[in-house]
Amino acid sequence: MKLTLKIWRQAGPTAEGAIKTYELDGVSKDMSFLEMLDLLNEQLVTQGEEPVAFDSDCREGICGMCSLMINGQAHGPEVTTTCQLHMRSFNDGDTITIEPWRAEPFPVLKDLIVDRSAFDRIIQAGGYISANTGSAPEANSVPAPRDKAMRAFNVATCIGCGACVAACPNGSASLFMGAKITHLGELPQGQPERWSRVVDMVGQHDAEGFGGCTNIGECAAACPKEIPLDVISQLNKDLRTALKNGH
């Protein structure tokens, strides 16, 4: 396959960035999207150019490190992470535009790499439970109803990649927060901090400069883990209950 790549290049956090165009030949349909970028970087290195900086880690779709806005879609055209996107989803001769996540709380560090520490600070604000350390407790000592356990498990698949923020026209991280709040709030272990959690996480989210949710739904469509929009409703319900109870 022969591709035309339009890639955002930015030397550093404060540098001016711009889209640069590259021609890349010899792309196999079996390559992952990141392998295709590896191929481009090999070509750039031999030409004496600075390789394109992008994030990746596990390359098996579970760590949430890779990102990329590909042709205007977070993680590209398939419902998966960029590392699990393969070049068979594209055609020979395609032009592919690749940009970093765009959000004020996700500043660009270099090229396609953004700093997502804002998510860590939201988690630190409330995305935890209190548990005694030491020997593991007896597994069945805290019963969890099956439907709640399943819902918690399904939304616990959130890998914190930031695609929801990248796709949201408002730049809101409500789907990310909603996933954490639903995940911990559905389980008995999450109850002690349940009401302070939602207030603290939303407070941190707003302080980081994320936008407000208007229930548009681009986040759920972009989520590689298919977190449904109802976690935002759960977030709102928990927030309403918490505020009513004076938190």
Partner: protein
């Protein structure tokens, strides 16, 4: 935003019911308009009910516009650098047109109040302050371009209600399952079609001559 929006939905439903009185003739329509001013008397002063509604609507409007401006500002601040390419794949057109659609409705409401409430401008002859609401209604919508303006406004209203109904239920935390979310989406369609459709019936009927003087 959600609460003031739901109040507006309740208001436009009542308003639409009143408008449909036009189908039962001049006397009935004018009697209804007159009775609105006497509603609640003698417990309330003359036009007391109307003023309670007006104050309530103004407060709701300030809350609604205030929340919209705050969200708009936050969204602009949260994404200062725009994408070169951005596709919308999971959102309805109505959800993406809430802000400009809302401004369209605001402009329409200003004209609508000048037309039928505050100045009572009769666009067919330029007269103001007419005392016969039914005549003003028929003379306004006998003008095809007036009917078009109102129909465009109703289209904007339908879009706004389609997303607004769902969005308000979601904001209030009432859509916690796939089924309740689907019901909220369906409610958006029903509210949009019933209200915008119900309002549109009157100007269309005047234009084609079903309602006449």
């Amino acid at each position: 935003m959600a609460v003031s929006g739901l109040l507006f939905i309740a208001f436009v439903l009542g308003h639409m019911y009143g408008n449909l009185k036009a189908f039962s003739g001049e006397e009935s329509f004018n009697e209804y308009a007159h009775h609105l001013r006497e509603l609640g008397e003698p417990m309330l002063p003359h036009e007391g009910f109307l003023w309670i509604m007006r104050v309530g609507l103004i407060v709701a409007l300030l809350a609604h516009v205030g929340a919209a401006v705050a969200l708009w500002k936050r969204a602009a601040k949260a994404r200062p650098v725009k994408y070169v390419a951005k596709k919308n794949v999971g959102s309805s057109l109505s959800s993406r047109t809430m802000r400009w659609g809302g401004l369209t409705l605001l402009a329409f409401v200003v004209w609508h109040l000048l037309n039928f409430t505050i100045v009572k401008i009769n666009p067919s002859n330029g007269e103001t302050g007419g005392e016969n609401p039914y005549a003003l209604l028929v003379e306004t919508f006998d003008l095809w371009w007036m009917t078009i303006i109102y129909l465009v406004a109703m289209l904007a209203l339908a879009f706004h209600l389609h997303h607004g109904t769902f969005s308000s239920l979601q904001t209030l935390g009432l859509t916690n399952s796939a089924a309740s979310r689907a019901r909220a989406r369906a409610a958006g369609w029903v509210v949009a079609i019933v209200i915008a459709g119900g309002f549109s019936l009157v100007p269309l009927s005047v234009l084609v001559g079903i309602i006449e003087k």
